[in-house]
């Protein structure tokens, strides 16, 4: 079990009083959860290997309520862990024993759709897919598409700078986020960015994106919406070896084509997802690519012709171009549900998230195969191949003693391998608690201290999600001048919501 900072006994001793006080700050009494039976469901997120009961859970219904709760926690030295839909695969929403979990799931209103400016403003508990649903009737969409997009919140996407299969072409969250309403640790409400592409001063929006709930809680977000392409079509290309598939990825990217997505799945992943999606994946292939291109019909046809020609030079087993929207949806259904679908072959999985230079794929897959053999765990590899983001799923059985610890150990070896070949520890899931202790593999102490100082600037008491991202140390580096940040304060949420 992962080490967490010791709880503050003085805070725990005041638990009943804190719950009562928080009820006074929230309109809906049921939104302060303090019964052990009920808090249990909040003890973990998408990474169930790590569990910790929180002290309390609060589900505020407005920015003001988030602000009041944050100010209260700040004034009383109470740690806070923010939670979106609880789908983090890195333990980003893992509570601490003395923490108040602030969930944004009740902040679920779409506030403003501005087609002229191509923006959508939503409360932060709106799901990633919810944004697209709100604009698709005008043929617009929100581009980043993490696999959990039907359920994950934009708040969580911002916290983890989430990507997805289509970020090869459209970029990750930070490339599509234009503004946020942010509640600072002391309860101040600030607005960063807006409907414009760049703001004066430091790029604080860039700083907030990917800050893993350590700098503040986003309660509203303004994102770029894009006009959907006229059409899109995937092709499935299968191979007899991972190496051939990897070489084909390199050749496609090297040709100058930017597919909208370029996904890789190995044999175990193909089998697990086919069982759920029944998409007609080639069960006898060793590896499979989903390559999707989009544009006008002529553009799609021309690009797929070139891709098929490239693939044919890499000894493919099968090439299948989707013939209908229904077929395309089915092809994606399997890929999008891949993580959950492995539940059909093993009860537990440990999902890794590293990034590697695409050219090293065959080597990395070979070495993962060796690790798999050495540790005796089956590995299903799912990979955003176009941008080098690798998701090996280590399949294990948590009910067997010792298996989790060995799966974790093997996972750490895979991530070290990613760094070793010139990649990095995380692609899109964030560091969370899972990769916290591997940060020194990637960063030297000076780098790490500099990042810690940045957190101290926002959160001098280290109250926000303190056990995440950085290895635990006795004393976080002090922020030299703990005076409050001089950020522009917010004029009032109602005014903002009604434009």
């Amino acid at each position: 079990m992962i080490e967490l900072p010791p709880p503050r006994e003085d805070v725990l001793a005041r638990r009943a009083q804190i719950a009562a006080d928080l009820r006074g700050l929230i309109d809906k009494p049921e939104a302060v959860i303090d019964a052990a039976d009920e808090m249990r469901a909040y003890e973990t997120d998408g990474l169930t290997a790590y569990r910790q009961m929180p002290m309390l859970v609060v589900l505020p219904g407005s920015t003001e309520e988030v602000s009041r709760v944050m100010a209260y926690c700040h004034d009383n030295g109470i740690r806070v862990v923010a939670r979106g839909a609880g789908t983090s695969l890195a333990g980003g929403a893992l509570p601490l024993a003395d923490s108040v979990v602030i969930g944004v799931s009740r902040l679920s209103r779409v506030l403003d759709i501005d087609f002229a400016n191509r923006t959508a403003t939503v409360q932060a508990g709106v799901t990633n897919m919810g944004i697209t649903r709100a604009v698709e009737h005008e043929q617009y969409f929100y581009a980043p598409d993490p696999s959990s997009q039907i359920v994950c919140t934009i708040a969580g996407n911002i916290a983890m700078n989430s990507g997805g299969a289509h970020c090869l072409k459209y970029g990750v969250t930070t490339n599509n986020l234009m503004g946020v309403t942010l509640v600072l640790p002391d309860g101040q409400v600030v607005e960063l960015g807006g409907k414009h592409l760049d703001a004066a001063g430091y790029d604080l929006l860039g700083l907030i994106t990917g800050s893993e709930g350590g700098l503040g809680i986003v309660t509203e977000a303004t994102v770029r919406i894009l006009r959907s392409a006229e059409g899109a079509r995937p092709a499935l290309i299968s191979f007899d070896s991972n190496e051939a598939a990897g070489a084909c990825v390199d050749a496609i990217i090297g040709s100058g084509i930017i597919p909208v997505a370029l996904e890789f799945m190995d044999k175990p992943a193909i089998h697990a997802t086919e069982a759920f999606a029944k998409a007609g994946y080639p069960l006898d292939a060793e590896a499979m690519l989903i390559v999707e291109v989009e544009g006008s019909e002529a553009e799609i046809a021309a690009l797929l012709d070139r891709i098929v020609a490239i693939a044919q030079a890499h000894d493919p087993r099968t090439i299948r171009v989707s013939q209908s929207d229904a077929e395309s949806a089915l092809i994606w259904k399997g890929r999008k549900a891949a993580f959950g679908a492995v539940g059909q072959i093993m009860p537990d999985y440990y999902c890794m998230d590293g990034t590697i230079p695409t050219g090293t794929l065959p080597e990395v897959l070979g070495r993962i195969g060796a690790l798999s053999a050495a540790y005796g765990f089956q590995v299903a590899n799912i990979f955003h191949a176009g941008d080098g983001n690798l998701h090996p799923l280590i399949l294990y059985d948590a009910n067997k003693p010792g298996e989790l610890a060995r799966a974790e150990e093997m996972g750490a070896e895979i991530l070290k391998l990613c760094v070793d070949v010139g990649g990095c520890l995380t692609g899109e899931h964030g560091v969370g608690v899972e990769k916290r202790d591997l940060m020194p593999v990637q960063f030297n102490p000076t780098d790490l201290d500099q990042q810690r100082r940045l957190k101290s600037a926002f959160d001098p008491q280290w109250l926000l999600n303190p056990a995440k991202v950085f290895p635990l140390t006795d004393t976080p580096p002090a922020w030299d001048d703990p005076a409050p940040l001089n950020l522009p304060t917010h004029g009032g949420v109602d005014a903002h919501a009604s434009h």
């Binding site: 039976d37 799931s105 539940g343 537990d348």
Partner: protein, 449 residues
Amino acid sequence: MQTNFTLAQLADQAMAESEKILRTCVHCGFCLATCPTYQILGDELDSPRGRIYQIKEMFENDRPAPETVVKHIDRCLSCLSCMTTCPSGVNYMHLVDHARVHIEETHQRALPDRILRELLARLIPNPRLFRLALLGAWLARPIARYLPGRLKGMVAMAPARLPGPSPIDRPQVIPAEGPRRRRVTLLNGCAQQVLDPGINEATVRLLTRHGVEVVVARGNGCCGAVTHHMGKEEPAHRAAKANIAAWSAEMVEHGGEGLDAIIINTSGCGTTVKDYGFMLRGEPEWADRAAKVSAITRDISEFMVELGLNPPVIATGQTVAYHSACSMQHGQQIRTEPKRLLQAVGFQVRYVPEGHLCCGSAGTYNLLQPELATELRDRKVGNIEKLKPDLIATGNIGCMTQIGSGTGIPIVHTAALLDWATGGPKPEALRDLSDPAQSGADPDRSMAA
């Protein structure tokens, strides 16, 4: 997901099954996205993943159901939208069914709640008592506003007019028109034959017109779903066995004339009857017959697709909003059949936006959880009315009552529409509906027989 059961706990067949289900859940959270109560309440405790977690705790610790768990399980509609969404194949239905039995066995509900549930469990499955109760409720309408809480809502829900019992619901064999192509039995059910006896009548006309002999078997009745969903295992199993005995007697292997199918025109019942095999798996004297019954059970829409529809004999073309009941689309995974049939006889069929969300009916849910049910109904009606349909079609009496209480648009059973289009009388609910303007065939029309 990791579980923590002792071998002694797993020796219990039901617990072993639940453990297996819990193990398939990987806690990915996809189910939150399509859960109606999570959409409304935004609390993980009122989501499938949260409920699974609460059930797991309760079972692992062998505890009587705590008040909090009861609250969140009671709020579950059992709409099974989560099962459609789940990539890991978690059988939430069997898990929550087991939890409900555990609650019923270990938790003492407050007296008014207990009385209400007992009343529903006794009245609804018995057409005679249910009719009397509806009459009573109808008589009580003038004093409804003086009644307490949920009782007020229930009285308000009593239909304005109550048709008499239909002769079709008596045990009998109704011959096929023309050469007999199939022989089936019809579950004539409980509440539906009281609330709208026209549905069984239309179903029988539709079947016989297509060469199907229909047996209304002596001794068949409520499928058991009403009590099953309240965790009342004993009466639910008793109802199941009565049906199994009644239908098996018609099968060749038990000396009957043979049955090609058991036809169900209430999808809520269909989900339950198709689960009889599982329900009675532990009772050797019933298991085989139960499995056989489940295997040949078909929703009327599935069966008519197999059979092929006669061409329409009236001018159709009306815009129909097709509402897929949760027990249809999630419970039985019947998604395209009703739409294809309605299109085949010429209706312009539109799917309802957010169609995966429950209308709030969910068996007795609208009576037991009126606030959530009404919020869901209003959301559903809003989505339906966006389509500006001439009428609404669905295949479940519960949805018809629930949606019908929130909109003036007529709502008709799919089978009644198919009956009308192929030669039956115009459904009563459509008497004010004018004939459609003659406007070319539906471009989607793809299945004319």
